[in-house]
Subunit: 332 residues, 2 copies
């Protein structure tokens, strides 16, 4: 079996740590692993029971690397993506930097993994936005059979979507409240402990945020469905991990709950909760699969379905999807 030289950029971040763990756990054919971070702080990460030092990112970081998984934000991706490609590397980028560039495949392997074949290295492959990936994991199989026209979605997004600093902010605000101290805000513009914040991302002139626009823009590209419409409200909630989305979807074809459930049951990477069962973020944290429940005939649309989908946004919403892309690449 072929083995590969792999680099992880942003290895000490919330997503990067999951990438390292998943490569280990899923036995990705790693020949060598290079861990990189923007700031070199002497940390190490465990991989195959060895401690691997995290190196400082520089222009030479991608020499001899076959596959680099980037989880370091858009600015770093824009700067070092081309550097890595020039060094002969295939970059799988978790940021939004390249997602809507026409020449860059934007991939959820269960949906459009075929775009990865044949593997024409070097190049950039984009990993979708977390809320988009999780929503599409339920929507795609329904779309294939019933043709979705538009969705209205409201999200319940965990603080780890903002990285380790989001987790720390929730922790420290909870502790401050317990001790009767003043609550400090550094990451979010409002208190997140015991609160919800109806604004994720940057506000655009349309009144939507860039985060809210991703579901439509990326959804169109991933599903190859240019007329897909998504009206989204993204809300941060005081949950550590796993994003939830309440979705109301309209379809071209007649849909009913039984047929929808039949369809969802066959979707790879998705677990269906039926009857009075439904998923919550705590149950789904740490799970590879996305979970869908509260499946019901919608009453606002003739061919409408409402459902609730939850996914670990560090896994299927980020690290797992990136590793699955890498796995798809090396499967010949």
């Amino acid at each position: 079996m072929s083995t590969y030289n792999v680099a992880i950029l942003g290895a000490t971040g919330a997503v990067g740590m999951e990438v390292v763990r998943l490569l280990d756990e899923r036995n990705f054919p790693v020949r060598s692993l290079r861990l990189l971070a923007r700031k070199h702080d002497g940390r190490t990460c465990s991989f195959k029971r060895r401690q691997i030092p995290v190196l400082a990112l520089d222009e030479g970081s991608f020499q001899d690397i076959d596959i680099a998984i980037f989880s370091a934000g858009s600015d770093v991706a824009r700067q070092f993506g081309p550097v890595a490609v020039k060094a002969g590397c295939t970059v799988i980028d978790n940021s939004s930097a390249f997602r809507v560039e026409e020449s860059v495949p934007l991939v959820v392997p269960e949906i459009n993994g075929d775009l990865l074949h044949p593997w024409t290295t070097p190049g950039i492959i984009a990993n979708p936005n977390c809320t988009t990936a999780i929503t599409l994991m339920a929507l795609w199989s329904l779309h294939q059979r019933f043709r979705v026209t538009r969705i209205i979605a409201s999200s319940y997004q965990a603080v780890s979507g903002s990285g380790q600093k989001g987790i720390h902010e929730l922790d420290s605000q909870i502790e401050a409240k317990q001790r009767g101290h003043d609550i400090r805000r550094e990451v979010y513009p409002h208190q997140i402990a015991f609160n919800v914040i109806p604004s994720v991302g940057n506000l655009l002139p349309s009144g939507f945020t860039d985060e809210e626009d991703k579901l439509e823009n990326e959804g169109r590209k991933i599903m190859d469905h240019p007329s897909f419409v998504a009206s989204v409200t993204c809300v941060r909630v005081p949950v550590y991990r796993a994003h939830s989305v309440a979705v109301t979807a309209e379809f071209e074809q007649r849909i009913d709950v039984e047929k929808a459930i039949e369809c969802l049951r066959l979707a790879p990477g998705l677990t269906v909760c039926e009857g009075s069962a439904y998923p919550t973020p705590i149950d789904v944290s740490g799970k590879d699969n996305c979970f869908v429940g509260r499946i019901r005939r919608d009453r606002a649309f003739d061919n409408g379905l409402s459902f609730w989908v939850v996914g670990d946004q560090l896994l299927k919403g980020a690290a797992l999807n990136a590793v699955q892309i890498a796995e798809e690449l090396v499967r010949r």
Copy 2:
């Protein structure tokens, strides 16, 4: 000025305590105040700087009472509502027991307070569901001008919507987590601390819950708009107080953001947050007004508007609305 003998049933509950406080603060013309609870536990409540004992509810509790405000749940309301009416009392009931009975007015004073005139005591007046009242505080003024056809709404409901025991459950789960103890569940079927629960109320055969149905059923009655359609997902979130609702609404008339804001600004009891400002539950807790923000042209509907509305569900969603009904009754 006339004064009235007033009774508060459920005086020691989360809503009842707010009713007592509001009657005091708003100088309701109280001649005598009788505080009642199902269980008599020797507690007192402060009113006009006097401690008033809470009495045990019995068949004779409503003798000589003019107005009784009930916040004790549907079963108690069904049992003691008729008793109070027979004793010559006007009952303002916070439960869902009588809301959709044709002969019972269901009132948000800013919307249909005219139903209360002339005051034909005795009788029952129903106070709407909290999420319904808060949503309609923003929707009504838009409906008057643009005629709403259907809405899709997702809620973010605070634990005090389940009464004091909801607050206690969140508190004790947070404390258990901080101390590394096991997390116990008594009120909610899933952990609520650091989680969200996409199920409020009882599941119906339709797949919606009775809580989700209230927005359509009660909205139709309050707005006198029998064809109004509401597709709702109700979600409990780890917030102490104030419910939030993400609403996407379709209208008959052409709507734009400027006209919508103009309209919302004139709505009584509503504060409009514009531009990058938006309300969060913590900001709105303890406030009489409901707050609306994130007002934007929706993209799923031609004449669509999306917005985010937050209200203190113990106040406008319950106690304040009940006291406003009482105020409307005595205003001749």
